[in-house]
């Protein structure tokens, strides 16, 4: 479904010189997979996440989505693509404060061209087990619940891909495990998930781990069941 082909991403270093964040990375992810991209900080995994999420453009290389090169889309086309095809989950949740769970979940629909949006937010919250929390604001929810609201937001537009960037980074151990079981559940029901993490224990919950070191894929293997 997604194919990164020889992706190179260089940044100018603030004091001069160049950061080689990604150095000729190729990766193929099929529909229905649950892949962890694991690596220490500075390994290039966040850059990879940004490129997969069409938030950043590679210096060279191609990013194919169902065979189409999406790295050359215009800024507005990419925005629309993100809206319709990708759901994002972040380490710091990024929920709007003083805004109910339902309104937070419905945020992507604000930028959608769809007209059949009634009930989607509620349905997404049901999928993450928060049907009874729809009128709660983030400050009234636990960290784990907030992250589940964020997942519902990522799922609301029924995307092809769920991209999670260190989703357990701000959660305690128990909430992190709960979150992983939510991911496994979603994946069992067909959602394609790519999770970026530095936490090797969390990565074990995925079905496949791609390790990234100094901008290159160091290993790529299935997780033993």
């Amino acid at each position: 479904m997604i194919e990164l082909q020889s992706i190179v991403r260089h940044y100018p270093r603030p004091g001069g010189g160049t950061v080689h964040a990604l150095d000729n990375v190729s990766l193929r992810i099929e529909r229905g997979e649950f892949v962890a991209i694991a690596g220490s900080s500075g390994s290039g995994k966040s850059t990879m996440m940004s490129i997969l999420g069409l938030l950043d453009r590679p210096t060279s290389g191609r990013c194919l989505f169902n065979g189409d090169d999406v790295s050359t889309l215009s800024v507005n086309e990419q925005a629309r693509f993100r809206n319709e095809r990708i759901g994002f989950v972040f380490q710091s949740f990024h929920l709007l404060p003083r805004t109910t769970a339902l309104e937070n979940v419905e945020l992507p629909l604000l930028y959608s061209k769809r007209s059949d949006i009634a009930g989607l937010g509620r349905k997404a919250l049901e999928r993450v087990g928060l049907a009874d929390r729809i009128e709660h604001t983030p400050s009234e929810l636990s960290g784990g619940q907030q992250q589940r609201v964020a997942i519902a937001r990522a799922l609301v537009n029924e995307p092809d891909l769920l991209l999670a960037d260190e989703p357990t980074g701000n959660l305690d151990a128990r909430a992190a495990l709960e979150l992983m079981s939510v991911f496994r559940d979603l994946n069992d029901k067909g959602t394609t998930i790519v999770m970026v993490t530095h936490d090797t224990a969390m990565a074990q919950h995925a079905r496949r781990i791609a390790r990234i070191e100094e901008g290159r894929i160091a290993s790529d293997s299935e997780v033993a069941a």
């Binding site: 940004s50 999420g53 938030l55 950043d56 800024v75 507005n76 925005a79 629309r80 993100r82 809206n83 319709e84 994002f88 972040f90 710091s92 990024h94 709007l96 404060p97 003083r98 805004t99 945020l107 992507p108 604000l110 930028y111 959608s112 061209k113 937001r153």
Partner: protein, 403 residues
Amino acid sequence: MNTSRLIHHSIRTISRYKLRSAFIMLGGLVGAAALTLVVALGEGGQRKLLATERQLFGATSIIIMAGGTQIMGGPGAYSARLTMDDIEALAAAIPAIEIWDPQQAMPGASIRHAGNTATARILGESERAPQVWQRSVSRGAMFDAAAVRTSARVAVIGENTARELFGATNPIDGEILIGNVPFRVIGVLERFGTDIHGMDRDAEVVVPVSTLMRRVMNVDTISMAKLLVREPSQVAAASDEVKRVLRERHAIARGRPDDFKLITAVFVQKMMTRVQRTLSLYLPLAAGIIMLVAAIVAASLMLSSVAERIGEIGLRRAVGARMTDVQVQFLVETVATLFAGGIVGVAAGSAIAQLLANRFHLGPVISARSVVLGIVVTIVTGVLAGVVPARRAAKLDPVEALR
């Protein structure tokens, strides 16, 4: 992308930042109130000014003021020599003069009636004052020529003076004391309000000029006179004549300055134009500066809002907001917040303007122009204040913003 959905969402966001929104609204409120207030009052004031000017200085009037150096300074030129004989001589010598009224005045005299005291300006005039000054009595009668001839102690008083001295009772035939001289009230002057000098013309007492000169002030001069010529076209020639005759009668040597001053409609019009220009330029300018301050306050608060909501902006971009959507959101937030304040401000400004106008008898001053101007300027201010924060928000790199 559904624009009305986005606008609706942006407006709802305003209520989530209550304190900041309140400050922006306050800026819009004060700015719009000030603008509406000065425009409404300025227009009302101008209308009143023009009406008063027409009443005081019609196109056919020539005003002679005693004392050459005084410019509309009112009475007080006691050293000057302008007499009833002077004016009678002018009327006899210049056939263009149709009617005239002499005037002597005492500013701020104390008047008493049955234990009540009022302060009023005492004007000594002739029986022709109603025609010459276009102000008659609303109750009772004006004194006649015989009263002037015999220096009768009769008075016509303003409404405010009547109220202060007589309360609710009928002042006609009541006795008042000006200084220690008793007068009988025979009429009440028509309401006038405040004149262009800010003087309350309803706190005034008009008595025969001869009575005021001889029995109260003990002077043999008058402070001014108003002459009306038959046609506006005669004003220029007639005032030249007035000048010639008066200089001759006062034996002013060639090259010496006049010991009187002439004011004609032309002179007054020039002055009015100047006043009008000041009112219509500086008042809105002052309000504009207040609006500018409101815009700066709103812009800086919105900039801090952008800085505080960087994560939110990044998230919106990630879930599909285009740069334009982010820009529209912040612009709508700024405009709508200022607008909300502005509407209240326009209402408050109009209300205050009307209250002040009532106090100064300016009549109704709230105009469609002042209301529309207040609203339009608020919206323009909102757009101006919102553009920079909105562009900054839109230009944020989503990857950076999400960090």
